[in-house]
Symmetry: C4
Subunit: 244 residues, 4 copies
Amino acid sequence: MLKQWRSLLSRNLSSKTLLSGKWGDARGALCPHGFEPRAAFSTSVHDFSATGNSSANARLFAPYKIYKGKAALTVHPLLPTFSKIDSGTGGLRVDRCGVIMLTFCPAIAERKYDWDKCQKFALSPTEVGSLISMSAHGASEFYHDPSMKSRNSGQVSKKLSIKALDGGNSYMISLTVTNNNLKSTERLNVSVTTAEFAVLKTTCSFALPHIIGWDRLMNQLPKGIEGSPSKVNPKQHPDLEWDR
Amino acid sequence: MLKQWRSLLSRNLSSKTLLSGKWGDARGALCPHGFEPRAAFSTSVHDFSATGNSSANARLFAPYKIYKGKAALTVHPLLPTFSKIDSGTGGLRVDRCGVIMLTFCPAIAERKYDWDKCQKFALSPTEVGSLISMSAHGASEFYHDPSMKSRNSGQVSKKLSIKALDGGNSYMISLTVTNNNLKSTERLNVSVTTAEFAVLKTTCSFALPHIIGWDRLMNQLPKGIEGSPSKVNPKQHPDLEWDR
Amino acid sequence: MLKQWRSLLSRNLSSKTLLSGKWGDARGALCPHGFEPRAAFSTSVHDFSATGNSSANARLFAPYKIYKGKAALTVHPLLPTFSKIDSGTGGLRVDRCGVIMLTFCPAIAERKYDWDKCQKFALSPTEVGSLISMSAHGASEFYHDPSMKSRNSGQVSKKLSIKALDGGNSYMISLTVTNNNLKSTERLNVSVTTAEFAVLKTTCSFALPHIIGWDRLMNQLPKGIEGSPSKVNPKQHPDLEWDR
Amino acid sequence: MLKQWRSLLSRNLSSKTLLSGKWGDARGALCPHGFEPRAAFSTSVHDFSATGNSSANARLFAPYKIYKGKAALTVHPLLPTFSKIDSGTGGLRVDRCGVIMLTFCPAIAERKYDWDKCQKFALSPTEVGSLISMSAHGASEFYHDPSMKSRNSGQVSKKLSIKALDGGNSYMISLTVTNNNLKSTERLNVSVTTAEFAVLKTTCSFALPHIIGWDRLMNQLPKGIEGSPSKVNPKQHPDLEWDR
């Protein structure tokens, strides 16, 4: 746990720093119990190209696709995973946070893409917040190490850059993958129109409460709905803001 | 498949070009497996005028109606259709993307409209993104060929134009239908107030995640909710961003 | 039908005119089959004051309340009503449109309100659009005749005015009820903070798709979800934009 | 009832005053039957630190976490509680309003927080409205007395301050707890990035209709859905805006 905790902190450090330039901001928004890079999703590339979605926990495939001259970008949310709380309360807690998964696949010909060379970048909730709050003159950069804290740590680094052009008349979304073993650098660029970016902002804003798990929290039956509050036992209901 | 693929590309080409002026943007947002003009909706005009909705897959009729002096505009979403994935995973994928259907019917008298002369225009998700991101000084134009890639291709072209007037104090929505066989051109204009346009923006923003299918994706039960993550089998859960 | 149709048109005429100053805008957004002032809600004032909600079709009472020095304003949505379509399709259509109901009750003492003298104003979807799109310097006025087209028509007129003050630092919401029989005019003023107005905008934006019935439209199971599209019968699926 | 009513009024008085500077605004938005500081939530600190959620009525724990150098802030919504209406209508009404709960825990070392010294602040719906409408140059302050109207009233006062810095490039959220018995003052500061604040605005906007109970109101089956409106009994359906 502590291991992935630190990995998350450094992970957020890199992406937050460029947003705020402040070390105080380095420890960004965590999922409950931390975001785990090795999350619970199968990623068979063949499946992905076939279905546009590689999540083991998604039985429905509905990516938003932006196919351009140099690369194809597909965007889809991955829901959080939950685990039972050990105490016998029957409660659940978010085990792994959801993400918005960006998948870039390079073009190999006019409207043909190499589905075996796709690269992924998983936006955390706070990185989604950065995307949806981007102004028509803004820019964001995020840095991930996909195998952080594993023995492959540092082998590969990924940088996602989102830049507004012409005062928001279009946007450039670029993924740069550097592999220090292979001494290789791949760069995948997708030019996005205002209309497409509006779809991204609207659908990611819709998805955000879902990937942090708030939508499920809302759909629970609230206590007290069965009985009158007069039956409430004060012992069980101390002051909302006052417990010490 | 390839046929409708190309038809979609050209279809998006026309509408995107005027938005961005860039050929690189020509290959716009696709529905999974492409948007198919011959989509799964019955369009009996009589039914439509009777119910305000011509979708075979909609059992509920709830269009938003804007009735003006020269024409009536009704707006309603059509949900995507899904198909089973051949592999025995029980998975579904979006087969045809949803749309926001605009229907224009000409006025023939004070508050009377000719329900037999209605013209339709189906906004794709990206065209909806263009509508909801329109500024108080903006303008958008979309071009469709309703029978693209069929033997009737090119016979008819439709142009939808949305223009802000008086700095957003009102909007003009115009549909122009040109029939090269009949050498005819129809133009249907509906003047829309700021209040009505706000309803369009708000309801289309609400509908957008639904017409791309993300709402259903969200309502699935996430994996891991039944068991503790300690039971997770690493083989099934490779690195989220790291599969090659 | 025609009767309530005309009544709706004149009703919208009054409210739209001040928004756009255009007669062309007079025929505003209609609910399917028109908005009927005599809608399906019981309005026992005693019930209302007791429960904060007078809708016969609402079994849950959750108004948003703004209690001020001169009057109390409570706000709650009323859902549309549906009716079966005569044809045996099992389809439903919106019979009466939903509204956002504003209820004003005058203060009779410090923090005491006369629940027997409440006055109501039902915002139509387009009037809600006007509220949620109001700028920090805007103003809106709506005129209703609650008994329009009945034999009591013209006896009473209601005017709702929403005005931004101090560049949006606060808002004044006023309901003026003129009774020509009693030669009386009542005016109920509620001063609303930016924070309270933000709650109104956010909750009314949330409610808008629901009061026009789009939320239910979204929750239907789309066709084709059971079978593969290859089984689709072309006869039943003519061109989406192409039916004449 | 009157007791907690007054406590709410004074409670809102303090928080509203700084927003509007107007006494007329002092009586802010109430939950149905008033917001009760002693709400129905268990607050075992150990549970809280363990689960990130102390709501007795939440069986799912999904807080949004912002961990910084001086303190950790976790944010989660608490749903309203409902009670049956005495009359045999089977109706429910909101008994206690939901809130957005902010929990601040002080740092005791690099990335270590003292979960036993957490302080809570429960944002009412109107206070949430103030947060989501905050501009890039705005500031809000709210004052609560957690034991208001109890015999401990006045012992402790809490002040929450939210300030935009650098024109919205970051935000400072501070909770100051003054204990007059212990002559102590605690101050917990969390610096929040634009991206994190965007997550707060988006998720709190999503949560707002839920904490006032409107989401459940929307999910009811509307009346008339079973039958044709022709069967409607006029006695039960007087004029919508016209009951005296």
